[in-house]
């Protein structure tokens, strides 16, 4: 039985340029999983961008020093496929009976295809949105799971006019993504436009009922002497029968200093 709650997947990731991998996502997550950082695979920075991974592996110099950024090919010149990358990881998770497992991406720039044990899920576009996949039914019985994510850059990466300027040619504004990446008066253009799994990846184990996005609001009266905490939450019943739930809310004072709450 897996422990209930969230586990971050933030180590042991590998990355490879899509044009250098001849295998499909199904093959990568079934018959031909990469075994380690042997070319074209390298250690990946997750959360982070494609460029962060390339800098970590010294494939490109760190763009923040000197004129290094000029030596890194811009996506406008290389084409989007040059910065379209595979990210791969294996993870252990063995559920029991009626447990459920979600695979969560808190942010990906800009779109992606997720392969888990040979099954594909397409993650829709948008840099500022979360993705949560119920993968309960596609986990391996032995607990060893293979995950591969093919991440695509923004649809409109634009190109940088010779004179530079705020936001380059402004093409990036057609997408729902950070606009500074085409360069601004305070920053040189970011060559991969921040493509990548740029925020937390996690797996979360729940029982049949899942708590989703609670909302907490306080209202105040009598000059702040009287206060109310209003809490609303969404619940999802993933089970196949009516779930009779006891919903508990508990508020404890955040303790100061070294006092711990038992």
């Amino acid at each position: 039985m897996a422990d209930m709650g969230k586990v971050k997947l933030e180590s042991g990731w590998l990355a490879a340029r899509s044009t250098e991998v001849q295998l499909t996502g199904t093959q990568l997550t079934t018959t031909h999983p990469p075994t380690g950082p042997t070319l074209p695979w390298m250690h990946a920075v997750i959360p982070g961008t494609v460029l962060a991974t390339l800098v970590k592996n010294k494939v490109v110099p760190d763009p923040f020093y000197g004129l290094n950024n000029e030596t890194i090919i811009d996506i406008a010149d290389s084409g989007r496929e040059h910065y379209t990358f595979w990210f791969f990881k294996s993870f252990q998770c063995k559920l029991s009976g009626t447990q459920h497992l979600d695979l969560n991406f808190r942010a990906i720039n800009y779109s992606a295809e997720v392969f888990l044990n040979g099954h594909i899920n397409v993650l829709p576009k948008g840099m500022f949105r979360r993705h949560s996949l119920d993968v309960t039914d596609i986990l391996h019985p032995d607990g060893q799971n293979f995950l591969a994510v093919l991440v695509h850059p923004p649809d409109h990466p634009g190109s940088i006019p010779p004179e530079g300027g705020q936001g380059g040619d402004h093409e990036i504004g057609k997408d729902v993504a950070a606009q500074y990446v085409e360069g601004w008066d305070w920053v040189a253009p970011i060559r991969d436009r921040n493509t990548g799994i740029w925020d937390e990846v996690s797996i979360s184990v729940t029982g049949p009922v899942k708590i989703i996005d609670p909302h907490l609001v306080s209202s105040h009266f009598d000059n702040y002497k009287r206060a109310y905490l209003h809490a609303t939450t969404e619940l999802e019943n993933k089970g196949s029968w009516v779930a009779e739930c006891s919903l508990n809310i508990q508020v404890t004072k955040e303790v100061e200093g070294s006092i711990c709450l038992v």
Partner: protein, 238 residues
Amino acid sequence: EHLQTQHVSVPPGAHVQYTFPELFFYKPNLWWPNGMGQQSLYNVMITVDVKGYGESDLWSHLFGFRKIESHVDKATRGRLFKVNGQPMFIRGGNWILSDGLLRLSGNRYKTDIKFHADMNFNMIRCWGGGLAERPEFYHYCDIYGLLVWQEFWITGDVDGRGVPLSNPNGPLDHDLFMLCARDTVKLLRNHPSLALWVGGNEQVPPDDINKALKNDLKLHPYFENAIGITKLLEDSPH
């Protein structure tokens, strides 16, 4: 003393919204911005137990009791802020992002944000050309008392200005913009430091997006009429 249990039936495969009866607090420790008082935080935990199964899920979040109001002052046309009824002089900094390759970590955020608090700031403005900042950013703003002005992803330079005019109608997919905006609000809305959502930098978003944002972000009618609620609650205080 603040523990409440409610019984809810959830049909198979269904999504339901559930609102707890409000929890009453007498003289709670309030959350104050940097320089105005303590940043008191409470730990709110929600768990769901399913009959015949046991504990099914758990969620927790630090929460600060505070009331933030702001309006544009007619005389100065500047925006005036009040926290817990006290007017405050905003001392703030512009924030774009912590690292251009998005190597963002809790430690990095803690250092950056403590630095702003040590500079005696009480607000950070997240510029529209950058990111919707991450929960770890807001967590340290909660801890150090930095109010956050968070802009959505519209900027004057890229959207609707310049010669030739660029992106006069903003991004191509307005539904995608609103989906991202709604999901971002759900991700960040429980942080006491979140003080103001702003449509964009030096630019008003396209009309349909601006209307949708204003509609989604207005105060819920349930909280609109404080007198009404006071009256309601005085009749049935608990």
